[in-house]
């Protein structure tokens, strides 16, 4: 079974963002780049399915030069091939991202497309759903459990009221949540092997004025609250404080 995994490179959670002078972009300065954690788990799921059912795992990432390191890491984890859809900047509008991904995936002819359900930087939460529509196949997102058997899938998606259990046939698009499984660390052997692999690079043009970032600002730091050492009477004091400072007590 051939599997495509769409991978986004995102800033590490611990990175401290700096804004560009025009306050419309986040500067690359000081950013440590990682594979979006949900996508990393999607790679893990893909590798497991390949080992079980055969076929190839192909990673696809849209973005500028630096995304190569994310693809390299995915190859080191055990993916077979990697494609970089190169563009000068990370696209803002996920409609553009999904459209170029779908075009590439169509040419690969996969039976299963995996992505993370959301990227932790922009939190767009829409690429898997858009891919399902573009590829005209079933799509389930937010998946925390997935099984594939003779061309059929079963996927569990937690929602507010409980769990939705979706069942359908391949090909399909599955948006993975990190909680499905922890990804492996690349082995030394994997890293050495990945170094020798070629990353197929293709140019894509992404210009859309449909979605604009008008301005960005860094979230103002909360001025340090009150911190007290617990002692007799603290509880009563806190309750009084909550009553005067919040509306729900």
């Amino acid at each position: 079974m051939n599997i495509a995994v769409c991978v986004k490179q995102t800033p590490d959670t611990e990175s401290k963002p700096i804004l560009s002078p025009d306050h419309r972009q986040i500067s690359d300065e000081g950013i440590v780049w990682i594979i979006n954690p949900h996508d990393e788990s999607a790679i893990e799921v893909a590798i497991g399915l390949r080992d079980q059912l055969g076929g190839l795992v192909t990673l696809i990432s849209v973005g500028p030069n630096q995304v190569e390191s994310a693809l390299r890491q995915g190859l080191a984890m055990g993916a077979d091939e990697a494609i970089q859809l190169h563009c000068s900047e990370m696209p803002i509008d996920q409609k553009m991202t999904a459209e170029v991904l779908a075009e590439k995936i169509r040419s690969l002819g996969c039976e299963l497309v995996l992505t993370g359900e959301v990227a932790i930087d922009g939190c767009g939460s829409q690429v898997p759903q858009r891919l399902g529509v573009l590829l005209d196949c079933p799509c389930v997102t937010g998946v925390e459990e997935l099984s594939i058997d003779s061309g059929q899938f079963t996927a569990r998606q937690p929602v507010e009221q409980g769990d939705k259990i979706h069942a359908g046939s391949l090909p399909s698009v599955i948006g993975i949540n990190r909680r499905i499984m922890e990804p492996r660390y690349p082995s030394f052997k994997g890293i050495m092997k990945a170094k020798r692999k070629a990353i197929h690079k293709e140019e894509v043009l992404l210009n859309s004025a449909d979605l604009l970032i008008e301005s960005l600002m860094l979230t103002p730091k909360k001025s340090g609250g009150k911190v007290v050492e617990y002692q007799e009477g603290t509880a009563e004091e806190v309750v009084k404080y909550l009553q005067t400072h919040t509306t729900v007590f």
């Binding site: 800033p11 959670t13 401290k16 804004l19 986040i26 954690p37 509008d93 409609k95 999904a98 930087d121 922009g122 939190c123 829409q126 898997p128 759903q129 858009r130 529509v133 079933p138 997102t141 937010g142 925390e144 998606q157 937690p158 929602v159 507010e160 009221q161 409980g162 769990d163 939705k164 259990i165 979706h166 069942a167 949540n177 909680r179 449909d210 979605l211 604009l212 970032i213 008008e214 301005s215 960005l216 600002m217 860094l218 979230t219 609250g225 009150k226 911190v227 007290v228 617990y230 603290t234 509880a235 009563e236 806190v238 309750v239 909550l242 009553q243 400072h245 919040t246 729900v248 007590f249």
Partner: protein, 316 residues
Amino acid sequence: MLPIVVIAESVGSKLTPSTLEICHVASMIADSLDQDWLILINDAAKNEAGFIAPRVISYALADGECHAPDMHASIAAEIVASSQLVMMAATSTGKDVLGRVAQLLSVSLVQDCTGFEMDGDRLLLKREMLGGKVLANVKINSCPQLVSFRPRSFPTTSPLRQVPVIESYTGKSFDLRTSVDLRKTTRSTRPDVTEASIVVSGGRGLQGPENWYLLENFLDVLGPDATLACSRPVSDEGWRPHHEHVGQTGRTIAPDVYIAVGISGATQHIAGIAGSKYILAINKDPDAPIFRIADYGIVGDLFEVVPALTNAIRGK
């Protein structure tokens, strides 16, 4: 032409609380632009919707309660294609459905917004990026504008005194592509973490699932709008169910009061709770990062502090 549309979520015959917030937003925008707004809803809840919106379009779904997001989205896309603004709550289902509607209409979509300003007939949307470290103002130029708003970002709307105007959707029908079965998990009668006004969240500091009775007792005195959450290690260990996990890879919440008990406050945890209006933290480590974002921090043994707070509230 349908100017402003709310795609509703319902449970049984009731609209969900987060949908009622979106209705509030729709009526505000409709007033300011002097336009109409309407609710799109499945048949089971159309009567209640009739008391909320000036106009309702209802549809019957093969699976009754729109558990199949592709079918839900296909019908919605048929109806809203020529509207100006389409909104939904940024719940699991809302984000799922709206993502599909956006591609069916081939337009841009902004999910999980926390506020907005009007700029002519366009919305200047406010949202968080990078786990709440950056705030963005975003504008959609394509039409219709598709937006989901994070639950608990707005007040809910109240019923109008009116005779409901309900139409039935009679357009194209769609086949189910996948079978979808909703297993209602046996959850407590307490609200979902995204809907509660007070959230009491437990971390590894509680030492084991057997100690959650402390938080349960605390909840009992906080009233029916309070609920339980937990940190990632707690759900990973299986001490608490996954749906209570708040943080970067869990749920994102914005309660009026967030009470962190025995949670150190890693960046990944903060990403899910940064929208809370007020944060109270209890931790024995005075250097725990949670104290840097807490409005009120208590340095102490939670096994002593939580029962004392429970008693103090009971006696207030």
